[in-house]
């Protein structure tokens, strides 16, 4: 309970907000929508279990990510966050292709200008992250997903930048 006012979750669930309410620190009464959307997608009981399984110092971030996912699922009831992931992965692939073309062009120009000078190796930074994402520890993304099929907006909010979604 924040002060004397029940937290947003206890208000929505119409119950007494205990002093040690697990939701109270993360769902203040002045933002009822935040809990409402998380409850709609995950359910209060599941959220409570998830939070209780985490150390206290990680719960705020967990709530923020749950809110983000719930918002994504509400905006795109079919693909949710997976649509965003697919779109962003495609962006990464396109940029890497453009980068490879540009670096090849640099080599060509350098070869034309100074053919006798040994050329440095192209700066192709090992893309371990992309390899991680494409053959990651999770199951592969559903194969029929293409970025164009996502019904979400072209602008995928960065969880660290969009304050409206992140806390």
């Amino acid at each position: 309970m924040v002060g004397n006012s029940p937290c947003a979750s206890c208000k929505l669930l119409r119950r007494r907000c205990a002093k040690d309410c697990v939701f109270a620190p993360y769902f203040p009464p002045d933002d009822p929508h935040k809990f409402a959307i998380v409850h709609k997608v995950f359910g209060a009981s599941n959220v409570s279990k998830m939070l209780q399984e985490l150390p206290v110092h990680q719960r705020a971030d967990a709530v923020s990510s749950l809110v983000y996912e719930a918002n994504a699922r509400t905006r795109d009831p079919v693909y949710g966050c997976v649509g965003a992931i697919s779109y962003l992965q495609n962006q990464v692939s396109q940029l890497q292709m453009q980068l490879a073309v540009a670096q090849t062009e640099i080599l060509c120009i350098q070869m034309q200008q100074e053919p006798a000078v040994p050329l440095p190796m192209p700066i192709m930074e090992p893309n371990d992250k992309s390899l991680f994402l494409s053959s990651n520890n999770f199951n592969s993304l559903p194969q029929y997903l293409g970025f164009a099929s996502s019904s979400s907006s072209n602008v995928i909010p960065d969880p660290l930048k969009r304050e409206s979604l992140w806390t």
Binding site: F42, G43, A62, V82, I106, N139
Partner: protein
């Protein structure tokens, strides 16, 4: 008729019109257990019922994927992946900008070294190259240098959609 994985898990009779059975077959009990743990059977059922039938399979797959991400990373779930991808995009854009600037610089240096007659001979009417062809970028940058535009002209309008 075998019960679907959801009805087996929930220990109930599997009706002929069970909402779960097309998407949670009995040979994959872990799939339903995973989504049930994160979303709950009731929420999954509601979400599927609100969708047209032809979209439910995709939705079930995506829910399973997100549930797996959440189980692997209980704090960030699949949002951690999104953050990582944003960072990758940012890094790749920076590298691309540097590479394009270097191309412009090299071409400008090359143009300054050549005498004017040779430049005219080397640039007959060239058929515009297609995007993706290395020659496309050369032509873009040459056009920019001839017009005297600033560095912002190096980037196409599509880059506006890369940023939030």
């Amino acid at each position: 008729m075998s019960r679907c994985a959801a009805c087996k898990y929930l220990r109930r009779r599997c009706a002929s019109d069970c909402i779960f059975s097309p998407y949670f077959p009995p040979n994959n009990p872990q799939r339903f257990a995973c989504v049930h743990r994160i979303y709950g059977a009731s929420n999954i059922g509601k979400m599927l019922q609100q969708l047209p039938i032809h979209r439910r399979a995709e939705a079930a797959d995506c829910l399973y994927y997100e549930a797996q991400c959440r189980m692997k990373d209980p704090v960030y779930g699949c949002v951690g992946l999104i953050t990582l991808l944003h960072q990758e995009i940012h890094d790749a854009q920076s590298q691309l900008a540097k590479a394009q600037a270097e191309i412009a610089f090299l071409n400008a240096s090359s143009a300054q070294e050549e005498p004017p007659q040779q430049q005219q001979q080397q640039h007959p009417a060239i058929e515009p190259a297609k995007q993706g062809d290395p020659q496309y970028y050369v032509q873009q940058i040459e056009a920019i240098l001839e017009n005297g535009d600033g560095p912002s002209s190096l980037y196409g309008p599509s880059t506006a959609t890369w940023f939030c």
